[in-house]
Symmetry: C2
Amino acid sequence: MLEQFKVSHDDAEFVQGDDLKKTVAGIFEKLGVTPEDALLAADVQVLADLRGVDSHGVSNMLKSYITGYQEGSINLRPNWKVVRETPSTATVDSDKGLGTIVTPKAMDIAIQKAKNVGVGMVTIGNARHLGMASYHAMLALPHDMIGICMTSCPPQVLPTFGAEPRLGTNPIAIAVPAKNEPPFVFDVATSSVAVNKIRIAARLGAEIPGGWMAREDGSPIMESGLAPEKFTLLPLGADREGGSHKGYGFSCMVDILAGVLTGFGYGAVPGRPNFGHMVAAYSIDAFTDVEPFKAEMDEWLQMMKSTKPAPGHDRVLVAGQPEAEVEVVRREEGIPLHPDVADWIRDTCSEMSVPCLF
Amino acid sequence: MLEQFKVSHDDAEFVQGDDLKKTVAGIFEKLGVTPEDALLAADVQVLADLRGVDSHGVSNMLKSYITGYQEGSINLRPNWKVVRETPSTATVDSDKGLGTIVTPKAMDIAIQKAKNVGVGMVTIGNARHLGMASYHAMLALPHDMIGICMTSCPPQVLPTFGAEPRLGTNPIAIAVPAKNEPPFVFDVATSSVAVNKIRIAARLGAEIPGGWMAREDGSPIMESGLAPEKFTLLPLGADREGGSHKGYGFSCMVDILAGVLTGFGYGAVPGRPNFGHMVAAYSIDAFTDVEPFKAEMDEWLQMMKSTKPAPGHDRVLVAGQPEAEVEVVRREEGIPLHPDVADWIRDTCSEMSVPCLF
């Protein structure tokens, strides 16, 4: 996340991760989610907060999940099931269950299949928002496996040369275990930027860099400036010269693997449920010896981090490293919540007669 | 490929694909490659030419393959073998065999495994250049499977904030079958641009758009201008504000899956053989019914292509469509070779006493 869009450290109220998790789980449980699932849904959001992925943490997601449950667009007690299966694959009908709850269960299936036959890959249709995609990919790590997660979302991104949004922000996540280094954890939207960053910047009246969005007619805005009232997102690469056909193509890949391949439709299909997901687990042992692999990942990560920096930068980062660094701090200091968010959670708990632990 | 960097149509000598293929196969055979493998290697290059992917066609690749064979860096008769295997995975030691020859065989293994258990995934180490990555991905199409191919290359791309190249152009390809529409075929380097485009532009004295390369000290060149004498490539996204950490991360993913996971090292590891590959096949039938899937891919492709275009553009393209359109023309008209290239092939054939069919 770009520094200027972060919650100021000074204003924040710090809440311990466990307290936040139990509080959020209490809210879900009160809504009618089973205790076990409520804790899982809370864990997904709070891990995002702990790792500094605030866009997918409690402050940004909890309200929409509560609303979804209350309005019935998310199913409190989904009868999710495997509708097709082979030794290395499964297709899950999520029955409108929250993705933060059903996706970890689908990942468990993928991991079990990878244990049995080397690779496990599960598509999930009729699905809902899954939170931080890397949460699900990281479930593979303790099993010495590589984890993958993709999710196809409702359209808000333009295809290259296009004036109508056809694709979601369609993120891709991959997690790879190392030995002593923090794991490689890559988790990005295939759009140029997440829409939340533009919304926050617009709210703050901040200038937005060129290459993030297009005007209403589809023309890319390549100069920095204020956000127009109506805009759409550009794919990664911004315009054709910058390689936007690549960002567009990666987004298409997600729309197919986590959309069409679920059998429950793609992002822009009329009447499709909101989301489709795909998770996969690759057993390292199926390809090569685990310990040398993890030692080489350490070497690879250290090589990347020790790259001589370009002028104006003091170090080179590698995916998963900033999040691991934030996690160390936040597990100690607590999660910084904007005071308005902390108050909103307290009010919500009070209205629902749920204990708030902060 | 950006239009201004293409061989001019007027200057070109047109050669039929089959004639070019037999001629190239003759050269490989004369060097000592088996007749069957020689034809395969030629097919990979000529299909690139037929599909307009000139960067991976005969004119751009043949010379380096001949040199590699002559110098012994590529093995004429590789004793490639599966060194590890599970029902859904295999690891191949390519024994320095040309990637254009060994990778299709590895893909056959992946396809067979996908037939048996749903998914097949094969890593290939100790490997050499595999040509157009989508060639291998597309091998899955006639089997009603989705094909994947990645290849980790020697370093020439900077990590975000870095001043030393740590990653190759590390391409990713995916091919997905449709019913009546040409298949979705996505095949891109994870760098901002292929180095060949910059070399060609430099040779022509043409201006290069901002965001493609960095100065020697690692600072991204964000304004258009002539190429400096020394430059390195930027990851897709160009700089941090443009999302270069995403291009960098995709490139890392390839370095891991097609590098570390092979057990034969990653792109920048000292002493690693030049390339590592990964191919995979996903059986559609393992996830959902094949015919509805292909019909829905048609609908999805048509939806994408019928997107209202932005000002200055007359249509929206989808990955694989431009290549399919070029292929129709070139199978009829022939492949346009620069006269110097055609002459060089004729001279090479003459020196090697190999028949040239044009």
